[in-house]
């Protein structure tokens, strides 16, 4: 189980990667999971888009 992650676990690793540095086992496990999973790479794309979108939102709040 050391290097196996479900999508549910992988999703948490994907979103928390920007909050903290993942440990080696999580990093390797996530990489392995992403190679065989069709859903999680899409999820990751969505999360990245949301991250950029929040940057836009921050300037949106300040704009007149």
């Amino acid at each position: 189980m050391l290097l196996r992650r479900t999508c549910r676990q992988a999703a948490l690793l994907i979103t928390s990667r920007r909050e903290r540095e993942l440990g080696w086992a999580d990093r390797v496990a996530l990489r392995l999971h992403m190679m065989v999973c069709k859903a999680c790479p899409r999820f990751e794309g969505q999360i990245k888009l949301m991250e950029q979108a929040m940057g836009r939102w921050r300037s949106y709040v300040e704009r007149d």
């Binding site: 479900t6 949301m50 949106y60």
Partner: protein
């Protein structure tokens, strides 16, 4: 000074809205906005000649919001059993096997989406719809841009709990965007 007065009157509703979005508490939001306005009035020279007075005011507001969060940290502290239904929401999203029940949709080219003002307005509405605890935590990170260890300290949570909360906030936001934006666009792929 009269310009500043007019500006404050015009912008007050917006300041209040964003203060509420962050604090999720009417009284604290009122306090933060009053303090912002007082700070602005005390420094009319800082206002004079600003090209973007709103940016200036929002900057002050963000500092006042951090003050409010600190002041009320005890009331904001999170109990793990009260997570705004976050765990249940995750259970809906994933099957027992841990797989996504529905494969995440293709959202297309970020640049095409991010340039659209309407999309940012939908995002804004989705942030507002976050449950209170999740919304507060999410914006402490994404708007006030506090470091995670500071958020943990203010809310008395462990880092692990904080990551889970931020995760659940993002899952909800993603769902809201799917329903109110991406699911409504003509399929491009």
């Amino acid at each position: 000074m009269t310009d500043l007065t007019a500006l404050l009157e015009t912008l007050r509703p917006q300041l209040l809205r964003y203060a509420k979005l962050q604090l999720r508490n009417e009284a604290w939001a009122e306090d933060a906005v009053s303090e912002t306005m007082l700070a602005a009035i005390e420094k009319p020279e800082a206002f004079a000649g600003r090209a973007q007075p709103k940016t200036w005011l929002i900057g002050i507001l963000k500092h006042k919001l951090v003050d409010q969060v600190r002041k009320h940290s005890r009331e904001c502290s999170l109990s793990t059993d009260d997570d705004d239904g976050g765990a249940a929401f995750e259970d809906e999203l994933f099957a027992e096997s841990g797989h996504f029940r529905d494969k995440p949709a293709e959202w297309g080219d970020p640049q095409a989406v991010l340039g659209q003002q309407q999309f940012i307005a939908v995002l804004d509405a989705c942030v507002e719809k976050l449950p209170n605890q999740l919304g507060r935590v999410f914006l402490m990170r994404e708007w006030l841009e506090l470091e995670t260890d500071e958020i943990c300290k203010e809310l008395s949570v462990t880092p692990t709990n904080l990551w889970v909360m931020l995760h659940r906030a993002r899952l909800r936001l993603r769902e809201c965007l799917q329903l109110n934006w991406f699911g409504k666009q003509p399929a491009s792929t």
